[in-house]
Symmetry: C2
């Protein structure tokens, strides 16, 4: 019987940087797909339906980066440091070559990993992504950070950011939340320190600097850029910008969807990711 | 009875820069749509089927820029000078506000017009377009410039660049060529001087410089970016890049089509342009 993500045990590994990382894995395969989480998310915030679909023909590894959820340490305030921490985790697992799916803040970290250690990355999936320095992206719109950035997170407000206004999208969002809560033993909640450090990193990433757009033009790995057509957090145009800068990138924009398009369209997205990762 | 583009008489106007411009117009409407032509093209290289479809509810103006086809003068070697010449032509016609459809090299000129004189431009359609300085775009691939850049243009080689490899796309290309030749009195052919100057301008536009990507971020006009999915001349990723930089841009990539996607898909493209230009 296959290991379901919602029932996967939490494992830990001690890395060379002194951090003890919490992670879960499911599925089997040669090159694992490593998941990099969004702002304030922990292991419980991956939609089990998506992870289980992805795990049908590959090994999936989800982890809490430094200072997040069940991992030790203090969350760093820059994307670069987060990338170095993620690399330390992968080194601790003895992984020399992985596919990476980075979601939102995780997509920033994924780009940075591909730039710092290109040999580590076989293929990249960048969901709700943007390149560093993209003009117009400096911090999130006030209503967006108000919805997801308060000390107490209110699910209805998170829905406003992660899902579109249509009944279909909202309903999909409620179902995704429901699936996340099928687990019985939850990860440690993310702290206010994590929230502050991560939003500093997100905001610094958006300081406009078109010269920095050149950075991702050296990414040689094939890249799949994906977003929802109504994402208010990372506007779809930054996904187009990113796909336009990376030499070997393809892009797909999912209809009637926002930041959480990959949970809303989990079947279609998992099939697209499989198609992309399996390409010769 | 409506004026068909293939039968529209050539008019001339003397501009303040001393150039006598050849142009044709068809259709009626308050804000005209001005067409900016591709590399080595003259008035005959607009597909009449596309122009007639666009002219159903607006005034369309096509013209030869300085030194091209039936217009006097010498073709300048920079996009900036081409834009200033186009502005001189529009000033000579007394037009203070226009929509612009720029195709390929014409899309570069259109961007430059929008940057030099924003008040002139209501809405922009950028077909097979790329922003100045886009990394990876320095000159066209050898087989592409060999196909369209020889002294004697061979239609079959132009087809290779303007249309995709499928039977459908090639057939659409042959039909578009056929429609262009339904005219009885042709424009003056473009010269070798025009070819050299225009390719110098195209090549200079592609000198990689990510800092220059910032230029189009100040375009306030709504923009519709469009391309074929298999364009070998201006890769679709430069269209994504451009749409990602412009604050109010939308993008559409047409299937099974190359540089001449707007002629191949002339009905669909004309409908999309109408929808975009008519938006309140």
């Amino acid at each position: 019987m296959k290991q379901l993500y919602a029932q996967a045990p939490v494992k830990t590994v001690s890395a060379g940087n002194g951090i003890e990382y919490a992670y879960r894995e499911t599925g089997e395969g040669e090159v694992p797909l490593v998941l990099l989480m969004h702002f304030r998310g922990n292991l419980d915030n991956w939609d089990p339906a998506l992870v289980d679909a992805l795990a049908q023909d590959r090994r999936i590894i989800a982890f809490d980066n430094t200072g997040v959820g069940g991992s030790s340490g203090t969350t760093p305030s820059t994307v670069e440091l987060m990338a170095l921490d993620a690399i330390a985790f992968l080194d601790a697992l003895g992984l020399a070559r992985v596919d990476i799916l980075g979601f939102s803040l995780g997509s920033f970290v994924a780009q940075e990993i591909a730039l710092i250690r290109p040999s580590l990355v076989r293929r990249l999936v960048l969901a709700s992504a943007a390149p560093q320095g993209a003009p117009g992206m400096h911090g999130w719109a006030k209503w967006v950070i108000d919805s997801v950035g308060e000390p107490e997170v209110i699910p209805a407000k998170v829905l406003d950011v992660f899902y579109a206004r249509s009944t279909e999208s909202r309903s999909a969002g409620e179902k995704a939340f429901g699936r996340m809560f099928t687990r019985t033993e939850f990860d440690a909640p993310t702290t206010w320190q994590t929230r502050q450090a991560q939003y500093d990193a997100v905001t610094a990433w958006g300081i406009p600097n078109t010269a920095l757009l050149e950075r991702v033009t050296t990414i040689q790995a094939p890249v799949f850029v994906a977003n929802g057509d109504s994402d208010p957090m990372i506007l779809p145009r930054y996904s187009h910008l990113l796909a336009g800068l990376i030499p070997d990138a393809e892009i797909k924009i999912y209809p009637d969807a926002a930041h959480g398009f990959l949970f809303q369209h989990h079947e279609e997205f998992a099939a697209d990711v499989k198609d992309f990762l399996d390409r010769p």
